[in-house]
């Protein structure tokens, strides 16, 4: 069974001028699989990844992770899901200038745990 399932995923941007970015995507991803999504500029790659990354909500359809529908969760549960289950490399450089490189790497850990454990600080 696939770890990640996309079912009938649709995403429409805008209300007055409607842009349909995704029109019913179905996709299965299994554990250990490498996958590349290739397409022209504006074909909806980023839109799809933003949805898989649980940063945005679809217009219709669902994404299941380990059989659980992501978008049935509220914002806080989604935030926790992102923190615990996802790694994301953004298209642009997104680092926090207030923190150094190591601290930036450790951000998700600190968001979850609050403070760093002594062992981690030592390794740094």
């Amino acid at each position: 069974m696939a770890e990640l399932e996309l079912r009938g995923l649709r995403k429409v941007y805008g209300r007055t001028v409607r842009t349909e970015a995704l029109r019913g995507i179905d996709l299965d991803v299994t554990a250990g699989e490498y996958m590349a999504i290739i397409g022209r500029s504006g074909s909806g790659k980023s839109t799809m990844l933003n949805l898989i990354g649980a940063l945005d909500r679809p217009t219709a359809g669902e994404i299941r992770f380990h059989g659980k529908n992501l978008f049935a969760m509220d914002d806080d549960a989604l935030a926790l899901f992102r923190n615990r289950n996802l790694g994301f490399i953004f298209q642009f450089h997104y680092l926090l200038p207030e923190f150094n490189a190591l601290e930036n790497v450790l951000l998700p850990y600190r968001i979850f745990h609050g403070s760093l454990e002594a062992a981690i600080i030592k390794r740094g």
């Binding site: 980023s46 933003n50 990354g53 940063l55 945005d56 914002d75 806080d76 935030a79 926790l80 899901f81 992102r82 923190n83 615990r84 994301f88 953004f90 298209q91 642009f92 997104y94 680092l95 926090l96 200038p97 207030e98 923190f99 951000l107 998700p108 600190r110 968001i111 979850f112 609050g114 403070s115």
Partner: protein
């Protein structure tokens, strides 16, 4: 925990912005604390000057209201001449049990039984009105601080011996050892040797007061062992009015008058001074709050990207809000702490540089300063709420999509 770290990093990164708003808060709170201490010091000084060496409560017998002997009938004009009793002294008799009970209350610093009456001094062709103050000098000293303010002779009354004020002495060109002929309205007259000359730092008093022993005054005014007044001082000057009411309930036959009733104009002046000071402090606080709110509103816009990333990495909505609320609280607290220090310095400078005639102690009240800091911290926290809501509502996808 991590919220606090992020909040401090944000404040540290916006150096200039943080420094400017901190400076603003510091100035505001310094002015607030300085003004508050100044007004409190000024009022304390004024009250001490007004009632420090004056009775807080004075007991006397109420004036007798003269009544016509012929009652007017309705519709018919009546001629009735009302003779006033003004000038007559109505003594407080049997005052010893009253004083004994006053002592039992334990709140009266000074209990001074007094016989007070008018008289005049005949010297050659001159006739000068004086106010005779018959009291026990030990009791009266606690109230009027006489012994420390003698300019000549001894602070001693007894027999016919008297003390007079320095202005009266100058007017009459007399000194210690001379005698004065004093006549009272009833016609009684005698020769009184001057034992000493006092200066109570009040021209009116120095010109007209004449101190005599209680017993001699009682004989002079034919009061037997009665008094005209009992003067009291309480430890807490503002409790005088309440005590006067209490005493009125216990001794309804006697009129108990507190200093607040005789100095109503001063009290209302102090009150309006206080309320104008509160108004200024309120507006200072308001501008501090608005300053923090506007700086944080700008900061939310500046830190949009960071907020977006923190949310994308799993920071919960309410924690994003907390980052900004912590910043507001930190600004309010640190600014008011600095402001308290600056206010303290301002007070010290004012006291050492101020013209020597207008000098009075300005109390630095720790409680008031702690309250100012607490209020400013609360105001800073409150000011952060609107920016915090905006930050919390920010959608991470907007930031990530628009780069």
């Amino acid at each position: 925990m991590f919220n606090i770290i992020v909040a401090f990093r944000f404040l540290k990164e916006g150096r200039m912005q943080t420094a400017l708003i901190l400076f603003g808060i510091t100035m505001g709170i310094a002015v607030q604390i300085f003004l508050n201490s100044l007004i409190v010091g000024l009022q304390k000084n004024l009250i001490a000057r007004t009632v420090g060496t004056a009775p807080h409560i004075t007991a006397s017998m109420p004036d007798i209201v003269p009544l016509p002997s012929l009652k007017p009938e309705e519709g018919r004009p009546t001629i009735a001449r009302v003779v006033t009793n003004e000038g007559n002294i109505k003594p407080i008799r049997d005052w010893q049990p009253v004083v004994a009970q006053l002592k039992q209350y334990g709140v009266f610093k000074v209990i001074n039984p007094v016989v007070r009456g008018s008289g005049f001094i005949l010297q050659g062709e001159k006739s000068l009105p004086v106010l005779l103050q018959g009291f026990d000098l030990e009791n009266a000293d606690a109230l009027y601080n006489i012994k420390a303010r003698m300019v000549a002779g001894q602070s001693r009354v007894g027999g016919n011996g008297i003390l007079i004020g320095k202005d009266l002495a100058a007017k009459l060109r007399v000194g210690v050892g001379n005698s004065l002929r004093i006549t009272v309205p009833s016609g009684a007259t005698d020769l009184f040797p001057i034992n000493g000359i006092f200066d109570l730092e009040n021209q009116q008093v120095n010109e007209s007061w004449l101190m005599i022993s209680l017993t001699r005054a009682q004989i002079l005014y034919d009061l037997d062992s009665g008094l005209t007044e009992i003067e009291l001082q309480v430890s807490n000057v503002f409790s005088a009015r309440g005590w006067a009411e209490t005493l009125h309930r216990s001794f309804p036959g006697v009129k108990w008058l507190s200093w607040q009733e005789t100095n109503a104009a001063l009290l209302s002046a102090l009150q309006s001074q206080s309320s104008s000071s509160y108004m200024i402090q309120l507006f200072v606080l308001l501008s501090v709050t608005l300053g923090i709110a506007s700086v944080l509103a700008v900061s939310v816009v500046q830190k949009q990207r960071q907020i977006g990333i923190l949310k994308a990495l799993g920071t919960r909505t309410r924690n994003v809000g907390r980052i900004f609320i912590i910043q507001g609280a930190v600004l309010g607290f640190a600014g008011s702490l600095l402001g308290a220090a600056a206010g303290w310095v301002l007070i010290k400078i004012f006291q050492s540089v101020g013209s020597s005639s207008a000098k009075f102690p300005i109390p630095v009240e720790f409680g008031a300063i702690a309250l100012s800091i607490a209020i400013a911290t609360a105001a800073g926290t409150l000011a952060a709420f609107v920016p915090a809501r905006r930050a919390a509502r920010l959608n991470p996808i907007e930031v990530i999509r628009n780069g």
